[in-house]
């Protein structure tokens, strides 16, 4: 952050970003917006955190090497990579059209997630919310682990951004398997996408099964209480359910990684809640923000806040006796410990934050 004076490289970097964006977007064939110079510069001045891997925000070395690759053969090499990308895209299309791909028992479609859905979320993640990730090394490289995060923002965009953060920044390219509310699996389209992204219902059975398979599971124990709280209560953690996530982690001996997300609270400042409409539509709350529903669909565009996602030190759970999962006192203690740690990190990040939008 103090290294914001790397202005001489700025030109180089934004070009590098553009090339990288091009290279990544190829297989899915989706349109990726060109990075604004301003955005790139902003990204850079926060991107020099030692924790952030180079892929996140244009470290020097990868840009140089990319430039070197392209520079070597000039147009010829450019054609070659285009050809490769077209070939990769067509073979992807071929597999999709003939149904020749695999999904796991939960309906997780790894190929679709990697090639299409992640590429759709990435611009939102990189360009819109400019997410800064810290402490990604706290996530184990293998084996089951439970990431517990705060929940906010009226719509569960924070979960999706956390998934992108883990997928793009973790050296082992791990997929985060989120536990979602039952409402997600009732709604058409949403449930289909959620299943394909690897999400599943937030219940002990599914969480345990995923942890037993050695998956990385993400949970937001505040649930609707967290996501649907009024703007005035932002960054105040709600009750962590009944602490079911702790007993699940204890039973599987999976470490708990606390995660604090700053920035999601302000995307839809919820100033009111229309209980009547919520009841009518069967939703747990119906948000009224300064723009929604007054401006119609335009009001549903989130505010472009600057986000920080910090993964904390893992809390080991394998040192307890097998019957510990049934011990309510231990469960409440551990739940409180996780909650305190997330709340503490939230306050720390809020103090460090310069402004909501930058």
């Amino acid at each position: 952050m103090a290294d914001a004076k790397v202005i001489p490289f700025d030109d180089d970097r934004s070009r590098g970003n553009r090339r990288r964006a091009k290279a990544e977007s190829a297989p899915a064939g989706e349109v990726q917006p060109l990075p604004l110079r301003g955005a790139a510069a902003r990204e850079d001045d926060s991107g020099d955190d030692p924790v952030t891997p180079p892929a996140a925000s244009g470290g020097q070395a990868p840009v140089r090497s990319l430039a070197g690759d392209d520079g070597g053969g000039e147009d010829g090499a450019g054609d070659g990579s285009l050809e490769r990308r077209v070939a990769a895209g067509l073979s992807f299309l071929r597999r999709r059209l003939t149904g020749d791909y695999e999904v796991d028992d939960f309906g997780f479609d790894a190929e679709l997630t990697d090639q299409v859905l992640m590429s759709l979320l990435r611009p939102v993640y990189e360009k819109y919310f400019r997410v800064e990730v810290k402490g990604v090394e706290n996530i184990p490289a293998e084996g089951g682990a439970l990431i517990v995060a705060n929940h906010s923002g009226t719509l569960p965009l924070d979960g999706l951004m956390m998934q992108v953060a883990v997928h793009d920044h973790h050296p082992a390219d791990r997929h985060l398997r989120l536990l979602a509310a039952d409402l997600v699996f009732v709604l058409p389209v949403v449930n289909e996408l959620a299943r394909k992204l690897g999400h599943t219902l937030a219940c002990a059975e599914d969480a345990e099964r995923l942890l037993a398979q050695g998956e990385l599971v993400g949970v937001m124990p505040e649930g609707f209480k967290g996501i649907g709280k009024p703007f005035g209560e932002r960054y105040k953690l709600q009750r962590f359910g009944r602490g079911g996530f702790v007993s699940t982690a204890l039973r599987q001996g999976a470490p708990i990684v606390p995660c604090s997300i700053v920035g999601a609270e302000e995307i839809y400042p919820m100033i009111g809640n229309s209980k009547t409409l919520a009841r009518l539509l069967g939703f747990p709350y119906f948000p009224l923000t300064p723009t929604f529903p007054w401006l119609g669909p335009l009001g549903a565009v989130p505010l472009p806040t600057k986000w920080t996602i910090q993964f904390g030190e893992p809390i080991p759970t394998d040192g307890y006796a097998p019957e510990a999962a049934e011990d309510p006192v231990l469960m409440f203690n551990l739940t409180d410990q996780v909650r305190e740690q997330i709340q503490h990190t939230l306050y720390k990040l809020l103090v460090q934050r310069r402004s909501v939008f930058f």
Partner: protein, 353 residues
């Protein structure tokens, strides 16, 4: 002295195949097939007794044949030939009650195998993604075959309590597929254009007919060393297929319809009697269902020869090409790839064939 196996529901393909298969087992002395109607297929050397299991006559059959193993396959979702839903339900529920009553009085019965279905778990968005044998469904099936299966299992549990000396096995089969399958799902997948529910892509699991026969055979004999074949087991092939994958692999286009429209169309089709498109079928095709098969593999010691995808591929081979055969689509994509290679001015790489 060999075993005497009594099999119900032999007029159906599956029952017939099982009877023919189990006769070849060395320790089986005699196989008695029972059904209300005479089977159209041959039963090998098995005896056929025409008896309606809804009547108490089944008790006499059981006493006369001195059967020691009863395999109850007459728990089905579709009527055989022209039958109404009411008669199917009666056969399922009353038939099971009569059969269990007869078994309870019989001093010779040692083993009872009942065909059930994973329908007992229902299909609901609030259920866990993978059901184990102990999962209690959030919403019990409200009607149709699923409810029959739940009730049948209830009576079987009662029987197991009253006759602890009889080894009772309940096999919950996932959707049975195979070249000759005549289940509602198979006839649905045989439609030229598949109506689907908009915004939902259900996860489906299949089990191949051959595996069904094999697991029934495993359960109707003494358990092998280190395994246990009494209890309740989910039987399904490994892996999962999405309905969208199924339609693409079959080469049949889908027509997504809104859920209310599907429900309405389903009841219309049912009224016209064209196909059995029951509400539970619609729920399955909306929310899907996946069961855990750890018990099948570890306790029962049975490994299906076909995975879900394998069973489906075998079914698809027997069905012929759809409107959009996957081979044609793959060929089209390959041609585009070929064109793009030529267009880029590079020499196309020659393949071996």
């Amino acid at each position: 002295m060999g075993k005497v196996v009594l099999v119900t529901g032999v007029a159906r393909q599956l029952g017939g195949r099982f009877v023919r298969r189990v006769q070849r087992d060395p320790d089986v002395e005699r196989v008695v097939g029972v059904d209300a109607v005479a089977p159209e297929h041959h039963l090998g050397g098995a005896d056929f007794v025409q008896a309606d299991i809804r009547q108490s006559a089944i008790g006499r059959v059981l006493a006369e044949t001195r059967a020691d193993t009863v395999v109850h396959l007459d728990v089905t979702g579709t009527p055989l030939g022209s039958g109404s839903r009411t008669s199917v339900k009666e056969t399922n529920v009353i038939g099971t009650m009569q059969l269990l009553g007869a078994c309870q009085k019989s001093p010779t019965v040692r083993r009872l195998v009942v065909k059930s279905s994973t329908n007992v778990y229902g299909s609901a968005p609030r259920d866990p993604a993978v059901c184990t044998e102990t999962t209690a469904p959030k919403s019990l099936p409200s009607g149709g075959f699923a409810k029959d299966a739940v009730e049948v299992e209830g009576y079987v549990r009662g029987f197991a309590r009253r006759r602890p000396d009889v080894s009772v096995t309940v096999l919950r089969f996932a959707n049975i597929l195979g070249p000759a399958a005549d289940t509602p799902l198979a006839s649905y997948l045989g439609l030229p254009v598949l109506p689907t529910v908009f915004g939902y892509d259900p996860r489906l699991q299949f089990v191949h007919e051959d595996d069904v026969i094999e697991v029934l055979r495993v359960c109707s004999h003494e358990p092998r060393r280190g395994t246990l074949n009494s209890g309740t087991f989910n039987i399904a092939g490994d892996g999962v297929l999405l309905l969208s994958q199924c339609s693409r692999r079959l080469g049949r286009p889908t027509v997504p319809l809104m859920l209310p429209a599907v429900t309405w169309a389903g009841s219309l089709v049912r009224t016209l009697g064209m196909t059995d498109f029951s509400p539970e079928q619609i729920r399955l095709l909306t929310h899907g269902r996946v069961v855990d098969t750890t018990q099948m593999r570890e306790t029962l010691g049975f490994r299906p020869a076909y995975s879900t995808a394998g069973a489906f591929a075998d079914f698809a081979r027997g069905r012929g090409a759809g409107l959009l055969p996957p081979e044609a689509l793959a060929g089209a994509v390959d041609r585009i790839a070929e064109l793009s290679r030529r267009g880029s001015g590079h020499l196309p790489t020659q393949s071996a064939n």
